[in-house]
Structure formats: C-alpha cells, structure tokens
C-alpha cells in the first residue's frame, strides 16, 4: 500500500499558513486574464471560490445543476457557523477551535488543515457582514452567538434557523456581481459528466446541458469541484434530492483518490420516518439542543403520552451519561445514545424509533425571566409558559412551524419526536494541503473533499469549511499550480482527450437509455439505500459489511440489465439524470462498505460494533488506524488503498470524553 504526500508546509503549526501565504508563487495580473478556471458547484464553497477567483482576475466558468446558483444545498443549513472571535469573552481562541474540531473529529483529521480553518474562521464572519449578511444581533448592535454540540464556548454565529441561506445568498450575490461584470460565465442546469485529462493534468470537463440534452466540452487550466456530499447514497437523508456524487466519482475514476468514504455523519435530531412513501428526511437544527432536553421513558414500551409521564419516570439519558456536555454532546455521541435507547426498547411514538426533545423546562425558565423583567417576581406556571413560549418562538419559530407542518403535531404543546438520520459525509475526494486531488490541476473544496472534519463533524463547522475553502484557501493555493501554467494557451476542445472523454460520457447515457428494462431508477436507489442503512449505517460489523458488498454487486448487475429510463438523451430527461447518479451511488456504496470493513476500529461516525468500550463508546485504534484511507480506482470497479499517516504533534491524542 503506497503512502501519499499531503504537502504540508514545514514549520510550527501556527506559522504554516502565514508562511505559506507569504511565499506561495503569485500569478501576475496580466497572466490571470488569460488563465481559465472551471468551478463545478455553486454552493458555499463553489460560489465563494468562483466570486473570489474572478475578483482576482481569473477567467471563471461556473456550473451548477439547479436553475440558479442560489438553490445549492448549502442553503438548507440551519443552525450556524463557528468562528473563534471570542466576542463572548468565554475563553475562545484559534487554538481552542482547532482543538475542539480535532477532538470532535475523533483524531482523524489533519492538524495543519484544521488549524488553518480555525485561523481564517474569523475572517469569514467579517467578510459576510461586509456583504450585508444579516447575522443575528444583540440590542447593543453587536453580533450574537449561541452554543453548539462538542464545545463549551459560545462561538456560533447565526441568522435564526436560516444561517445557510443567508451565507449562501451572500456568496451568491458576490458571484452574481462577477457574472454581471462578465467575469464569471455561469452555466446553470448543467451537469458535469467527465473530467478531461491531458498529459496527466485536469484540463476541462464534459457537461450535459440538462434542458437540451446537448453534450458540451469546456476547457480550463484547472478544474475545481465544489459539488457537496454524497449522503443520498442512503436514499433517505437530509440532503436535497439532487445532491449526488457524480462529479466527484467521475473524477475518482480518472485518478482522484477517494478518502475515508465510510465516515458518514448521522445527525441526532431529525424528524422520524413516518412511512415508506418518504423521499427525504428533515432536520431539526442542532441549535434546538441548547434549549431542548432529550429523554425517553424509564419504563420499556411505555405507551403513555409524553404529558402523562411524570418527571421521575423520565430518563434524561444524555445528561445522565455525559454530565459535562449533557444535551450538547457531539452528533455522533448523541445519535448512538438515541439508537441505544431505542434498540433497548425505550423508543417513543408509533414506530418506537424516536426519542423526545422537550422544551418545557426551558420555556418555563424563560417565562420566569420575562415575568421578572416585567416586575412580576412570583408568576404562576401558566404565565411562565405563555411568556416563555414567545421567547422560544422568537428563537426557533420557523423550525417549530416546519415540525408542525410535517408531523401534524404542535411542538409547543408536546415534545418533538426525533431520531438520527444521515446528514453529512466527512469522506470525499482526497486533497493535499493545497486542496488539490491526486490529479494535478484538479481541486476539491467543501463537503466534496475529505480534509477538515476527521471521523465526525461538529455542528456549525460545515458552513465554516465551505466558506474558508472558497474565500480564503483555494484562491491562494491554486496560484501555486497556476503560476506554472501561464505559458499554456487555451487548449482547443477538439483535442483527442476531449473527444475521448465525451465518448465515455455519451456511451454511458446511451447504455442507460437502451437497457429498456422493467425496474425504475428509484427502485434501485431505494434498494441500495436500504442495504447501506442496515449494514453500513449508524453501526456496522464485519459480517454485515461482507454481506452488503455482495448485495451491492448483485444490485449493480441487476441495474445494468434491468433499469428502465424512459425518454431520450437529447432532451430534458430527469430520469436519465437520476439513473446516471444512482449508477455512481451503487459503485460508491460498495467502496464505503470496503472502507468500513478495512477500518478495524470505531471512530466518530464510523462505529464498528466489534470495537467499543465497556460503556459502549467508540474504541479507536491509534496504533494501526491513525491514517487517512485514500482509495484509488482500478479497472472493473476495484479499489487500491493508499495511506496518509496522520501525525499529531500539537494535540495529545486521547480517548474522547464528554463526561
């Protein structure tokens, strides 16, 4: 198994990024005008990178499959974005954000990347505020913060439950400004189907115009993928319906290593599945755990309503097990604890696959404060609840409305029912310190890469990584590569490499159309999702993973002989788009299981049942598995493992404890 080089700069951890920025080769402004960069994806990472590179003077082409860059799935993020501003004077610092993130990721992230992320986190907030992003403010006019899981400081900036929307609209407006000035050419309703490589370097893409079905060739001196995560491999997830792995997977097939594919974050507070008709799952922001207490009945199979279960018959299991962090333990810990209680027979609701998220205690507490502000120092319970409900409404109103709409229950009267669901994928294309994949000239940013989260992502850190990569990291690091490409003239797209890549893409489309089988694309997607959730989901074991690999291989064979895709390829055809994506998910699903099987330890979102402590916590094996598993694609859907050893020079690696 070959080792790989992450190109981490020499020197002290705290100096690496500063030194890198001062010494990285620059591209002269007149050369920037002739250098073309392709950016695929227009979410936080893609839109911010496209806008920033255009501001710097590069010629940028940006692609997204939605009708507008404003609809990228970053828009759905609810809770907030972290930054080490220490505005609350509670002891936050760059080092503490770095430390919390490394620990939260169960010591499976790269120190140098995470430290850089913590360093630029403060610039992100400044940048967004300058753009007019309306982050929440206190009465004094200063920015407000709240807490998120896995930390003991308040460093999360937010805009009600719509933080992702506001940050994305900020990046989108910066992008539209460049589009308006003619410095970014935007291709909406386009899907990237192939990477074009010339002399080993990424030099362009093949894209399909989703409206006309036309196949297009686009040249770029470099290609950046900011195409998001692959949680939809599970079919049911919190991802948008269109979220897919196709661009990253096609890059993987052209030589970009895929790292840590088995690390999937399961979010603990999701609205539970109500039936087999369900197409997706909806999150209830982690910020709710600031004011919600999580509990199940102490009695097994308790069928009483929540309101009929007295206080002393409730098990606040997170507060019981983790007194220091309580309801604010990280997502992987909270998810596993919920599964453990439900598996043991204490689940609530019709399916028994749910726990309560209860706001009553804090509603009453807030009400008491409000009454006291109004001079009423001895309010009755009803007054407290009425006043407190107003406070809760102001903080989380849109989330409560969403819950009521989906479940038909009023969460102000009765506790929410929640259960873990697939949310964020920490795995992705392997990148070095420069965010370059193992294909020269091919970069990967945001959720699509693997780099900053380790085996688990703390809340409010995905938005931070997307914007850090796009605004502040890639625009510098890509210069190192492009400074050596200034003499390369734009390569005409009739070059044989473009012809060949287009033929590959067209070949797949035609094959899919011509199978003319009997089963729908969704049939295969649901089957795959079921295998993945049951055998490579919140808990995995060797036997299940081996079975899953066999089942996925059989599913792949069935797909390529029996899928039915109506319509033609030279027209708008969403079934054809889905078919291509599901074909890629099937191959990725197999790799996820192979990776999970290879990792004989538990860490973060990867919980192998064979490896746990007596108390049921994840049991890491730092001697044998402190590495990034980077998989190389080989002919015929085979994978070869490369290892990047993780060195922890600044943080003492320890058993994670939130007790």
């Amino acid at each position: 198994m070959a080792e790989i080089n992450a190109n981490i700069p020499e020197g002290e951890l705290t100096e690496k990024w500063t030194k890198f920025k001062s010494s990285v080769p620059l591209v002269n402004p007149s050369n920037k005008r002739t250098i073309e960069v392709i950016i695929v994806g227009s979410g936080l990472a893609g839109a911010s990178a496209a806008a920033t590179l255009a501001e710097m003077g590069y010629k940028v082409k940006c692609f997204c499959f939605q009708d507008s860059p404003r609809r990228a799935h970053s828009i759905a993020a609810q809770g907030g974005i972290n930054a080490a501003k220490n505005y609350q004077n509670d002891g936050d610092s760059t080092y503490r954000l770095f430390y919390d993130t490394i620990k939260g990721g169960d010591y499976r992230a790269r120190e140098a990347n995470v430290h850089r992320l913590a360093e630029v986190s403060t610039n992100i907030i400044d940048q967004c505020v300058a753009q007019g992003v309306p982050l929440a403010r206190e009465y004094g006019g200063l920015l407000d913060n709240r807490s998120f899981g896995g930390t003991q400081v308040q460093r999360t900036f937010y805009a009600a439950g719509q933080t992702g929307q506001q940050l994305l609209l900020g990046a989108y407006s910066a992008l539209e400004r460049q589009i308006g000035m003619g410095k970014v050419e935007m291709f909406t309703r386009h899907e990237m189907l192939e990477v074009v490589k010339i002399d080993g370097k990424a030099r362009g893409i093949i894209a399909r115009n989703l409206i006309t079905g036309e196949i297009e060739r686009h040249f770029g001196h470099a290609v950046v993928l900011g195409t998001g995560g692959y949680g939809n491999v599970f079919y049911l997830s919190t991802n948008a319906m269109g979220s897919n792995v196709t661009a990253a997977w096609k890059a993987h097939k052209q030589g970009a290593y895929f790292a840590n594919p088995c690390y999937t974050q399961i979010h603990p507070t999701c609205i539970p599945v109500s039936g087999d008709h369900q197409s997706k799952l909806t999150l209830m922001s982690e910020s709710l755990r600031n004011d919600g207490r999580i509990w199940v009945p102490k009695k097994k199979d308790d069928t009483r309503k929540a309101s009929e279960i007295p206080e002393d018959e409730r098990d606040y299991y997170l507060e019981r097990r983790y007194p220091a962090f309580g309801n604010l333990v990280p997502r992987d810990v909270a998810s596993r604890a919920a599964k453990e209680r439900c598996d043991a027979g204490y689940g609530v609701g019709a399916s028994k696959l749910a726990v309560y998220l209860d706001f009553k205690a804090n509603t009453e507490r807030y009400g008491k404060i409000e009454a006291s502000k109004a001079g009423n120092h001895n309010p009755d319970k009803e007054t407290c609840m009425r006043l407190g409900t107003e406070v809760i409404k102001a903080k989380y109103g849109n989330l409560f409305d969403m819950y009521a709409q989906i479940t038909g229950e009023n969460p102000y009267d009765t506790p929410m029912r929640i259960y873990p669901a697939v949310h964020y994928t920490m795995g992705g294309l392997w990148v070095d310190y420069n965010l370059m994949t193992s294909v020269p000239g091919l970069y990967c940013t945001g959720e699509a890469n693997f780099s900053d989260h380790g085996a688990n992502r703390l809340g409010a850190s995905a938005l931070m990584q997307g914007l850090a990569d796009g605004y502040f990291v890639l625009p510098y690091t890509i210069g190192q590569y492009l400074s050596k490409e200034i003499s390369v003239k734009a390569i005409p797209t009739d070059h044989p490499a473009f012809v060949e890549a287009e033929a590959r893409a067209v070949g797949i489309l035609n094959t899919l159309i011509n199978i003319k089988g009997t089963k729908s694309v969704d049939y295969f997607h649901k089957k795959l999702g079921h295998i993945m959730w049951e055998k490579c989901g919140m808990a995995r074991n060797e036997k299940g993973l081996n079975e899953a690999i066999q089942e996925i291989r059989a599913l792949r064979a069935d797909f390529w002989s029996n899928v039915r895709v109506p319509g033609a390829s030279n027209e708008m055809n969403p079934e054809l788009e889905k078919a291509g994506r599901v074909a890629d998910f099937i191959e990725l699903g197999e790799l996820m299981c192979i990776d999970a099987l290879n990792r004989n330890e538990s860490c973060g979102g990867h919980f192998r049942e064979e490896y746990q402590t007596e108390e049921g916590e994840a049991l890491r094996d730092d001697v044998n598995y402190a590495y990034v598993a980077a998989w190389e694609f080989k002919e015929g859907v085979n994978f070869e493992l490369h290892k990047e050893e993780l060195k922890f020079e600044n943080i003492k690696v320890a058993q994670r404890s939130y007790k």
């Binding site: 920033t52 501001e55 939605q66 009708d67 507008s68 404003r70 609809r71 799935h73 759905a76 501003k85 610039n123 907030i125 400044d126 940048q127 505020v129 300058a130 753009q131 007019g132 309306p134 982050l135 929440a136 403010r137 009465y139 006019g141 200063l142 920015l143 805009a159 719509q162 929307q165 609209l169 910066a174 400004r177 589009i179 308006g180 909406t188 409206i211 948008a240 319906m241 109500s274 039936g275 087999d276 008709h277 369900q278 197409s279 997706k280 999150l283 019709a350 399916s351 969403m402 709409q405 989906i406 038909g408 605004y471 502040f472 694309v521 039915r564 109506p566 708008m572 969403p574 079934e575």
Partner: protein, 256 residues
Amino acid sequence: MSTGNMNLTLKVWRQKNNKTKGALVDYKLSEISPDMSFLEMFDVLNEELVNKGDEPVVFDHDCREGICGACSMFINGRPHGPKDLVTTCQLHMRSFKDGDTIVVEPWRAAAFPVVKDLMVDRTAFDRIIASGGFISVNTGNAQDANALPIPKSQADAAFEAAACIGCGACVATCKNASAMLFTSAKISQLALLPQGQPERYRRAQSMVAQMDAEGFGNCTNTGACEAECPKGISLENIARMNRDFYSAKFVSEEEV
C-alpha cells in the same frame, strides 16, 4: 407506518418544451397517504408512469425542506397550494380530502417561460440580482464585524426581507406578473444595513431597470404577492423600494 387511503384525480399541465403547446392531462391516484408531502404524491405518480413506460412529469424540486425555493407549482389556482406560508414541498396531503380533484399548473408569467411540464425558467431573477443586488466588496480585508454595530431592530428587519427564497410565487400570482416583491426584498435588505448605503440609490435604479427589461409587469398594490408568499415577505418592501427609486432621481449623483 401510515397507510394511504386517499383517492385523487390530478389534472396536470403537460408541455414538452417551450415551443410546443401544453394541455391538462388527467391522472387517477389511489392509496395516497395523508402524511405524504405533495411532491411525494408526485413521486408516486411518476413511479406509476415510469412503470407503464410513460414519461414522468417534470417539476422543479430539490431541498424539500421549504428553503431552496425550487418547487413551483400552481395548485388549484394558488401558488404552493391552499395553505399559507408553506412551499409545495412542505404541503402535505392531509390538506386535501379523499376524492378531491387537484389542478396543477406551472407558474404563469411571460418572464418565466415553461421549460417542460411544470418547470419554468426563472433565470430572470438571477439577472436582476446581477444588476445590483449585492454590496460591492471583494474578498479579504473586511473590517472586524463588530466594528459596525447595527441596531437589533434594523438587523431583524433586514433579515426579514432577506428571508425571500426566490421561488417566484409573487410573480406567478400577480395579475401583472410583477417581480416587485422579489426585487424590493433584496433592495430593502441592503438599504436597511449601513453596509448597503454607498450603492443604495444606484442599486434601486439598476435593479428596477433590469426588472423592467426582463418583462415583468408593474405593481398595482393588489397584495396577492404578499398573501401568497411562502416566507411572508411584506408589501412594505415595495413601498421602501419605490421610495428609494424616486429618491434616487433627486439625491443620486448619477443616473443609472
């Protein structure tokens, strides 16, 4: 697990592309669960169509959490259907009755041409933003965020305007297909913040000009846009936009 017992008749607009004529086509659906979202009900219909070898109905949708603004269906004559303050993806079948006939059409507006079936082209909105819906700040070197205190009431008002998801329901429901609620929401957001002041009047002029160039109609203060907006964007924004637009003609140093 919920079981479905609703029987429905759908009348769905089918149109191959923007060069062909469209028509309403009838579909019968049975065993629909009241817990399904409206789009999940469409998934069931499409699965049936694919199984019969027919082409599924094309419609825009993505996050299914009510925030991306992609879903865009006219349901029984109302954008996003019969309930206030929800998008189609957050509309559930319990809002309908067993035996109902439901008419589903695409957004209606000349500036939103039909792409296929229920899908329309809303890129005019992007061009309105590109004409000035931003603050001209390059990446890097922004001052510390707390160096610019903003009164909470002002920040909250800006946030309320910024909550627009750009779905286009306001245009679709307006008898003049006016885009003034959308455009004014962005103008308001930036006009309410100190960061937005330097370009305030220039912005109002250029965004209004682009809105007109795209072929959106004028506002006659009917208020259908506000009534049908899934995010409750207020008509006040239109008043603010008008004030800024007219002020621009007096206070602006330059005409755009």
